[in-house]
Subunit: 142 residues, 3 copies
Amino acid sequence: MNMPAADSMTMVVHSGDLDKAMAAFIIGTGAAAKGTKVTMFFTFWGLNLIKKDGARKAKLSRMHMGGLGTAMIRKLMRKNNVAPLDELISDAADLGVRMIACEMTMGLMNVSKDQLIPEAKEIGGVGTYLDAAAGAHVNLFV
Amino acid sequence: MNMPAADSMTMVVHSGDLDKAMAAFIIGTGAAAKGTKVTMFFTFWGLNLIKKDGARKAKLSRMHMGGLGTAMIRKLMRKNNVAPLDELISDAADLGVRMIACEMTMGLMNVSKDQLIPEAKEIGGVGTYLDAAAGAHVNLFV
Amino acid sequence: MNMPAADSMTMVVHSGDLDKAMAAFIIGTGAAAKGTKVTMFFTFWGLNLIKKDGARKAKLSRMHMGGLGTAMIRKLMRKNNVAPLDELISDAADLGVRMIACEMTMGLMNVSKDQLIPEAKEIGGVGTYLDAAAGAHVNLFV
């Protein structure tokens, strides 16, 4: 297909599950690699993903995926050359993906900026998300 | 940022979890306050949120949020001046957010109109949702 | 309402839960019936839905829906003339809904093409999804 990439995309990352986080970052890095401006807004459980070591602690949303647990799926990912979550996050930052930590969630969960990974450069509220979504072609809630 | 707000937004609210409902209504009221026309379509578990007392019964999608249960998160929300869900729903109605109860789900769960909160003024099907989504800039599935 | 249908719509179907799958296919077939070009991309747990017999094995995301389990909800669906999931999938195919199996997930879960239902005619990656989303008006993550 020769369709042009979307100019911009946003994702509300509400889930902290490993499988949803993988999907969000695979979509986000894939889009950014095509030249799409990507904004990811991490809220509620999703905030855990951008805490230091959060990517390594994320678990599957279900106990099994084809009979497999979290440790097994991470092993399978390596075997299938699927980048692990922390590498995807680093790739996303290199590709210019804008990662915003939800200010309200930081307050609720008592998380300070220095507990976040350096790739998450911004802290913002729903207004910041809505401004990005208003200018974006593709908007997902993950 | 000086980007214009989106003209209109829709959300399919499929989840009945407190944290997802909070996210949906914070986004919905935030958008409506900027002048965006917001339509929320409550289906499956999401229908529970617009049943009388449904907002007070909603539980977190996970047992813990940074170690916290549903009761604790409600307390933390009050402490952090985050409006409780029933207040957000009332705010949404005041701001003109259109709340539609899914007719099919009402049939499946044997819910009658008088069991719904008065803020949910409409009952509709997937066609009603699709009409709203076709005219909207931002469409989310929560 | 006399609004025109959206020209095209995409859904990332990440969940394998019966209730989310029902919502995705009711939205997808409803849109396709209005003339909207619909693309569904089945990834992670969602891939299970397009495996042979996958639609019959799908379970609710919660134990109860108004006190009801998976078997009871299927019975209620029949009673309320809601098409079962396998029929919705077949309807979707008849209406020209494009169903794409995620190549990466097939690798992770060791699923081969002949394990998929014939309605899922394509195998593709995130790039295929992003091309479809870039041209679509409504994009959902389910």
